[in-house]
């Protein structure tokens, strides 16, 4: 099926190209024709983990080639213009065809096909005391992702502008998962066996957009209808290294929905300095699905539960209304505000058959009927001011408030008897305050600062919970976040521009649970300080240098109640990106890029838990030599060296790679 799409798009674009493109040409034509084409050849040689190389570089190893870039525009008679962009790299499955034909002040049609491949490394976790290398799937996991667009638009003056669009999106292939399976060695169990998932996902979207001005009022309406369907299969495996016994669990899931929304929006400048807009959105989604779990061999393990659903139905409806305004009492002072109200209702029903093994009664297969219902009412307000009256300075402040009420009902009946019921009423309120300034103290310098504090308070009232304390054991949860962004850019010399940024992000999560006797306590703390410096220099006419250093000092500490198996998660990263370009003469350039990234956050809980911290180094160097061979042809030769080392995976992911690229750009 994907090949049919590619062939169709290639055929359409090819035919139009031949029809409109008088070949050969040299240089930009007087008739407005211009473009370029870049064929390339690439060869990659990898020693080490090839899958990890593909995941990092987003392309295949070995040999590849194709058209890296094809672009041309042509002006035809009667104000008609044609443009085309293309890209084909095989075997990377990297395709782009983009065609647009338009007539000035009348309309246009365009077609697009885009596809790329995402690669995944299938290496599992590493637990050093097992003295075995990490398990690897080695099944060339990759996912082909893309879309097809067909669109037409009417842009004639005096009548409504109309855009009609069809889009088909797809994802096909396999991806790695992090739900690793248990590996048992002499009674010690660690969840490190890699898992993966088959995916076949398709979405068809039809949309219509109409906009028009009536007097001073701009009106627009957007209609959207989509059909979504997905079939997935998750493959998990459990292994016992001592007995050699393995168990596999396959979770097949399918789901499809029809969804529709329509939004109507109007805006107007009632007076020169008074702007008002309002809108309404209605959306509805109706979906159905199915799930089947297959465990082989099906044994007495506590989680050996095979489910087969007979029906899964979900439905979602929402209404949203907005009202916004902006007032500019003076040219330097702006006030703005907005209000959004929303109601949403989600319902879910499942009819399933569960086969489980119980310690006493053995294998049982109760039928389960599950229902859920969520009603949400939300209100959100924003108010902001902005002042530009001071010389070369902008001052701004904004407040945002949210109030949500959500009622949740969940129920499960097994063979007609109540097995689980939950009724929770929750209130969620949020506040977000932002203030800052942007100032240019002297020519070539800019200093900007933005500080933001936000609070989100959740209160849960578990009116009914037949499994007391599980899963609805949280009665209140508050998030408090501070963000500070500082940026200073200046040009000390005409040839040098420096930019320094500092970011602070601190998030605290406070929780109150049913079991807590001393009220609220901190369950999570995240602190990050990020320092970045960019230098862009042109110290000589033919020399250009750009550098970015960035260091992130960050960690997350969750409430572990003194359990040694939980270690602080560090995410410190040091990154350096350097590029240098030098023009040897009028026809020849050389450039060099160096990329470095390092994270040393190994966890030291090997005897109490499973270390999952990151500990890696990544280097990449790319040399490019390019030369103008003639007025229309430029060639480029590239060599890249990439090195990756990850001690966190016992060096199983390490690789060294050499990449050669030869490209030729023909301008016409």
């Amino acid at each position: 099926m994907p090949n049919r799409r590619k062939i169709l798009m290639a055929a359409i674009t090819g035919m139009i190209t031949v029809l409109f493109w008088p070949f050969p040409m040299a240089g930009a034509q007087d008739d407005g024709t211009a473009g370029h084409m870049t064929p390339v050849l690439r060869s990659s040689k990898v020693s080490g983990d090839e899958e990890k190389f593909r995941e990092d570089r987003w392309h295949d190893d070995g040999r590849a080639g194709g058209i890296e870039e094809l672009s041309f525009t042509k002006k035809l008679e009667n104000d008609i213009s044609l443009s085309f962009e293309g890209r084909v790299i095989v075997p990377d499955e990297d395709y782009l065809f983009r065609l647009r034909v338009g007539k000035r002040k009348t309309g246009y049609v365009r077609a697009e096909y885009r596809e790329f491949r995402k690669y995944f490394d299938g290496t599992g976790g590493f637990y050093a005391p097992f003295a075995v290398a990490p398990f690897e799937l080695n099944n060339d996991l990759h996912l082909d992702v893309g879309n097809v667009i067909l669109e037409g638009g009417l842009t004639k003056k005096g009548i409504p502008a109309i855009t009609l669009r069809y889009e088909h999106r797809f994802k096909e292939g396999e991806k790695s998962l992090l739900e690793w399976g248990p590996v048992n060695q002499a009674g010690t169990i660690k969840n490190i066996y890699p898992s993966f998932k088959d995916i076949d996902e398709k979405t068809d979207i039809f949309s219509l957009f109409i906009e028009h001005d009536i007097g001073r009022v701009h009106i627009e309406d957007r209609l959207h209808y989509e059909q979504f369907r997905t079939d997935t299969a998750r493959h998990d495996k459990e292994r016992n290294l001592t007995t050699g016994i393995a168990e596999t669990v396959t979770v097949n899931e399918n789901y499809s929905h029809d969804a529709f929304y329509n939004s109507l929006r109007m805006e107007s400048y009632l007076k020169e300095k008074l702007y008002v807009s309002t809108g309404y959105l209605y959306s509805r989604l109706k979906g159905e699905g199915g799930l089947r779990i297959t465990t082989i061999p099906f044994g007495p393990e506590p989680f050996d539960n095979n489910w087969v659903t007979r029906a899964v139905d979900v439905e979602y409806r929402s209404h949203t209304a907005t009202l916004n305004g902006m007032l500019g009492p003076s040219s330097n002072f702006t006030l703005y505000g907005g209000l959004q109200a929303e109601t949403a209702d989600t319902e879910g029903d499942t009819d399933a058959l569960l086969t489980a093994t119980e310690p006493v009664s053995g294998t049982v297969s109760p039928g389960a009927v599950i229902k859920s219902d969520k009603d949400k009412k939300a209100l959100e307000e924003t108010f902001g001011i902005r002042y530009t009256g001071l010389p070369s300075t902008t001052l701004f402040a904004e407040g945002k408030w949210t109030q949500n009420e959500i009622d949740l009902f969940e129920e499960e009946l097994e063979e007609g008897a109540l097995a689980f019921e939950r009724l929770t009423g929750s209130k969620r309120s949020g506040q977000r305050y932002t203030l800052g300034f942007n100032n240019s103290p002297f020519a070539g310098a800019t200093l900007s600062l933005r500080y933001r504090r936000s609070y989100i308070d959740n209160d849960y009232d578990h009116i009914t919970d037949t499994e007391p304390g599980y899963s609805a054991f949280i009665t209140a949860q508050d998030f408090t976040q501070d963000e500070l962004n500082v940026r200073f850019a200046f040009r000390p010399f005409n040839w040098l521009r420096a930019t320094f940024t500092y970011q602070l992000r601190a998030l605290e999560t406070d929780t109150t649970s049913e079991a807590a006797t001393d009220g609220s306590f901190t369950t999570g703390e995240y602190d990050a300080h990020i320092y970045s410096l960019r230098l862009a220099a042109k110290p000589a006419p033919r020399l250009q240098l750009t550098t970015l250093f960035s260091y992130r000092d960050a960690d997350t500490t969750a409430f572990d109640n003194g359990s040694p198996s939980v270690a602080t998660y560090g995410s410190d990263v040091f990154s350096a990106l350097l590029t240098a370009g030098y023009g040897i003469d009028d026809k020849t350039d050389v450039s060099m890029e160096y990329l470095f990234s390092q994270s040393e956050n190994a966890q030291k809980n090997v005897f109490e838990g499973l270390p999952l911290g990151s500990d890696y180094r990544q280097h990449g160097v790319l040399f490019t030599l390019s030369r103008q061979l003639s007025e229309t042809i430029r060639t480029r030769l590239q060599y890249g060296y990439y090195k990756y080392e990850a001690e966190e995976k016992g060096d199983a992911d390490d690789y060294n790679a050499h990449v050669f690229v030869l490209g030729l750009t023909y301008n016409f």
């Binding site: 790329f116 976790g125 248990p182 490190i192 996902e201 979405t203 959207h224 979504f228 998990d236 669990v249 979770v251 969804a259 929006r265 702007y275 309404y280 979906g287 009202l323 959004q340 499942t350 859920s372 924003t382 902005r386 070369s392 969620r428 240019s440 989100i456 899963s471 054991f473 850019a489 040839w495 521009r497 999560t509 929780t511 049913e514 079991a515 369950t523 999570g524 990020i530 970045s532 220099a537 042109k538 000589a540 006419p541 250093f549 997350t556 969750a558 572990d560 109640n561 003194g562 198996s565 939980v566 998660y569 995410s571 040091f574 350096a576 350097l578 990329l595 956050n601 109490e608 890696y616």
Partner: protein, 255 residues
């Protein structure tokens, strides 16, 4: 601190190299190094307003408006991101005619958002530098009207992620309430050192919300003692809470 010292050392070395190169060079450029469009000059925001008045007008309500809508020196304003506009003006305007389009090229965004650029070079990242996506696929640099009624089928911030990740954002019979706070509670969309762009690759991801005071040394969640399970690995391991985005059959997200 070790990394901070390395960071400072790299900066000193680099600045030294530049100064040495400057000493060896024969001259410097006349024009600012980052007009971004060769041969073009800055025209100022008032010139842009002549054709793009609505865009400039609405820009005031956006985050970028706070920072750039200052008509000083021409360097502040539309041309900060789109490059110097003189050639675009002289050509009579037109889509992509002598003007930078950040939709196709993230460089203008990265001139200010330095840490975001670094995140896109982490080992796990959305494929921006591989040209598979653009900043504008998720962000509207001109901002929007404060509230636009177009966040359909998903709560709040999830609407942006839902465009590509419909399976993860779809309604489920049993909802994971973390999704009410948005996908970014667990994921860093630009880039991460952890697979699947997770903020934390271990049990901290869950325990930062799911905490409960119990006897010291025990991790009890609700009425269930999880202490031994945590020694094995993450909460979303096989047989445990694998349906982290919600489940159609199990209230505890086991499948």
């Amino acid at each position: 601190m070790k990394h901070l010292r390395t960071f400072c050392l790299c900066i000193i070395v680099y600045v030294s190299i530049i100064l040495i190169l400057l000493a060896c060079s024969s001259g410097v450029l006349d024009s600012p190094p980052e007009s971004m469009i060769q041969g073009a000059e800055f025209v100022g925001i008032k010139t842009c307003t002549m054709c793009h008045s609505e865009m400039v007008r609405d820009f005031k309500m956006t985050n970028h408006g706070h920072l750039f809508l200052t008509d000083s020196e021409g360097l502040q304003g539309c041309e900060s991101c789109h490059g110097a506009g003189s050639q675009h003006v002289n050509a009579g305007g037109g889509r992509g005619v002598h003007i930078i389009n950040p939709e196709r090229n993230p460089k203008p965004c990265f001139r200010c958002h330095l840490s975001v650029k670094a995140e896109f070079h982490f080992r796990y990242h959305h494929p921006l530098r591989e040209s598979r996506i653009a900043c504008t696929d998720c962000h509207d640099p001109h901002g929007e009207d404060i509230y636009r009624p177009r966040k359909a089928f998903a709560d709040g911030i999830n609407a942006t992620c839902r465009r590509c990740h419909r399976e993860q954002a779809r309604p489920r019979v049993f909802e994971h309430e973390a999704l009410r706070e948005g996908c970014t509670v667990c994921h860093n969309p630009h880039g991460s050192i952890s697979s699947k762009l997770l903020d934390e690759r271990d049990t901290n991801l869950c325990l930062k919300c799911h905490g409960q005071i119990a006897s010291p040394g025990l991790v009890v969640l609700g009425s269930f003692n999880h202490t031994n399970f945590l020694t094995r690995g993450t909460c979303w391991s096989m047989g445990c809470h694998t349906a982290a985005h919600g489940s159609d059959v199990n209230a505890h997200f086991r499948y």
